[in-house]
């Protein structure tokens, strides 16, 4: 039935994540950004919420609960409201776990899922993005060629989060024109992790360029998938996740600007009393709401077992456009102060640029 109301569990989950973010992240996100690092205990605290492994069967170390993309979207928005880099880092193992669980063979699931489905956060990552102009996750330049019971991978990957810290990778490559994932051990020869990237945003998330030079992966490590879950579906789910993250970042900027405008006195009254400011804030408010609804619509389709190619595409496109618009307004409301790093709005803006560009950073 059509409903815009959260269920009891959804409300409690949202409130719980919001409390965690308020306690640990909101006041420390700036320091983390400056230091280029997220303390392990924060990541562990978020991991203990159990969202990333909730839907994995107990046999593989999970909690055997119903899979709910909507719940994941709600959680991601709250985490990203605190900090986008934190949201990506804290849920990153999902980007390995979900595809392996949904597309993997029984043998692959048995071997790899228990490594990461446990109480301690154990980094593993996913390499989809590629450097250079014109990257499209449906047109991968990294190629896999079959040779003597193995696949030989060649190509360049970028924005691979926690590549150096991870023991296992999921690598997206095109094989005979078909996009696919390959499971690789970090020890595997031919995986060359370069030094940490320095990016426009997400300073506290360590990302790396990874070169694949004749990287030989056993044929049994290819994720085959089926019609229910395949490469495209993973891209759709990660698009919805990115829309949720974009909503969270934008909401953070909106709320900060809204509160600032009520406090900041110029010409003897709060700047919120001026229409030119107030209207910008009104627009931020309804665009955040619209982004969230677009995300929820796509997540509903997924949750109801419907095809969500169109809705996930539009949700992400919208979140990409609007998170830039909203976070840009956030800076403008603060004026010169918005340009100073002490206020978070400049960080929101730098981070939001990734919403339209990055793929496979999170999944619902």
């Amino acid at each position: 039935m059509l409903s815009f109301n959260m269920s009891e569990e959804q409300t409690i989950t949202r409130d719980t994540v919001a409390r965690l973010v308020k306690d640990l992240i909101i006041d420390t996100a700036h320091e983390m950004d400056e230091a280029g690092n997220i303390p392990e205990e924060y990541i562990q605290a978020a991991w203990e919420l159990g969202a990333s492994i909730a839907a994995i069967p107990e046999a593989y170390g999970g909690y055997d609960m119903d899979y709910s993309p909507m719940m994941n979207a709600i959680i991601l928005e709250e985490l990203a409201y605190g900090d986008m880099a934190f949201a990506v880092a804290a849920t990153l193992p999902s980007m390995f776990i979900f595809p392996v669980y949904e597309m993997g063979t029984e043998e692959q699931k048995k071997k790899y899922l228990p490594l990461f489905c446990k109480e301690a956060y154990t980094p593993c990552t996913c390499a989809i993005n590629e450097p250079g102009f014109g990257f499209d996750p449906h047109k991968l330049k990294t190629k896999a060629v079959k040779k003597n019971g193995s696949y030989i991978l060649n190509g360049e990957k970028c924005f691979v989060p926690l590549a150096k810290e991870s023991s296992h990778f999921l690598i997206a490559a095109s094989c005979d024109g078909e996009n696919s994932f390959f499971i690789a051990d970090a020890e595997n020869a031919g995986i060359n992790i370069k030094k940490p990237e320095r990016n426009l945003g997400l300073y506290s998330l360590k990302t790396y360029e990874v070169a694949l030079d004749n990287c030989e992966i056993p044929a049994k490590n290819r994720l085959v998938g089926n019609s229910d879950c395949n490469y495209d579906k993973i891209i759709q789910k990660s698009a919805i996740a990115m829309s949720a993250i974009g909503t969270g970042v934008s909401r953070a900027s909106y709320e900060y600007a809204r509160d600032y405008a009520k406090e900041r006195i110029q010409f003897g009254e709060p700047i919120a009393h001026k229409q030119s400011i107030a209207f910008m804030i009104a627009e931020m408010a309804y665009e955040v709401e619209a982004m969230r609804l677009m995300t929820w619509k796509a997540a509903s389709m997924l949750e109801n077992g419907k095809d969500c190619q169109r809705d996930s595409f539009l949700a992400r496109l919208y979140a990409g456009e609007m998170s830039m618009k909203v976070t840009d307004h956030g800076i403008q409301v603060l004026g010169g102060h918005g340009f100073i790093r002490e206020h978070p709005v400049e960080r929101y803006y730098r981070n939001a640029r990734g919403v339209a560009i990055l793929h496979g950073m999170a999944i619902v």
């Binding site: 009891e8 569990e9 409300t11 409690i12 989950t13 409130d15 719980t16 994540v17 409390r19 965690l20 605290a45 203990e48 919420l49 159990g50 969202a51 909730a54 909690y63 609960m65 119903d66 719940m71 959680i75």
Partner: protein, 250 residues
Amino acid sequence: MKIIVTTKRVTDPDIKVTVNSDGTGIDLQDMTYKMNPFDEIAVEEAVRIKENSGGEVILLSIGPAGFQTEIRAGLAMGADRAIQVEHDDYVEPSVAARIFKKVIERESPDIVLMGKQAVDDDAGQTGQTLAFLLGWPQACFASEISINKNSAVVRREVDKGIETLEVSLPAVITADLRLNEPRYPSLPMIMKSKKKKIDTLSFSELAADIEPRVRYLSMENPMEREGSCVLFEAVDDLINALQTKAGAIR
């Protein structure tokens, strides 16, 4: 150890409240609700006691029928079951204590753990009143609790230092802010709480004396702050202003 924890559904402490147009209370339109933060601490403590020495944790709440999200949040933290006494309107501390007494007599727990006060009306009376009505010892504003076989040792932060006292069980203990930091319930715990039982009771079933002892006459918004801050370059200017303008010193 059988522990009852009382939990109150309060208006979200992070939301700025305003008095309603007829001055009878606060404006509840668009209001969101949370479990009283001090009760959250009490739930956490009870669950920890259970995790250490076994037993059962029962939540007890008075609130409107059909609104159980805040109780469910406590179950998600690890309580076993809950009792909701259904009631729509404001309940003053003495009435709450009389209602609780009836339920506690039915359940006969070893400990009643409560928040030291609710953040909506800040009355801070229910625990003490309840202990009096039950004829039980009370240890209020606990910042540390350790449980022995037939007693509890409670440390409380008071003005002159930290006081340690021992109460025989059963007893009423109320939780202060520094008692613990409540956990973040995990998603699996939240989902499991869906299956936990919430019994409902009505005022009439309990046959409690619910006659209020206090009558609320009106409510008004606090006065707008008018003070302003003036910076002086030199101490002499400040003294001068205190003498001539404020008349604070002569």
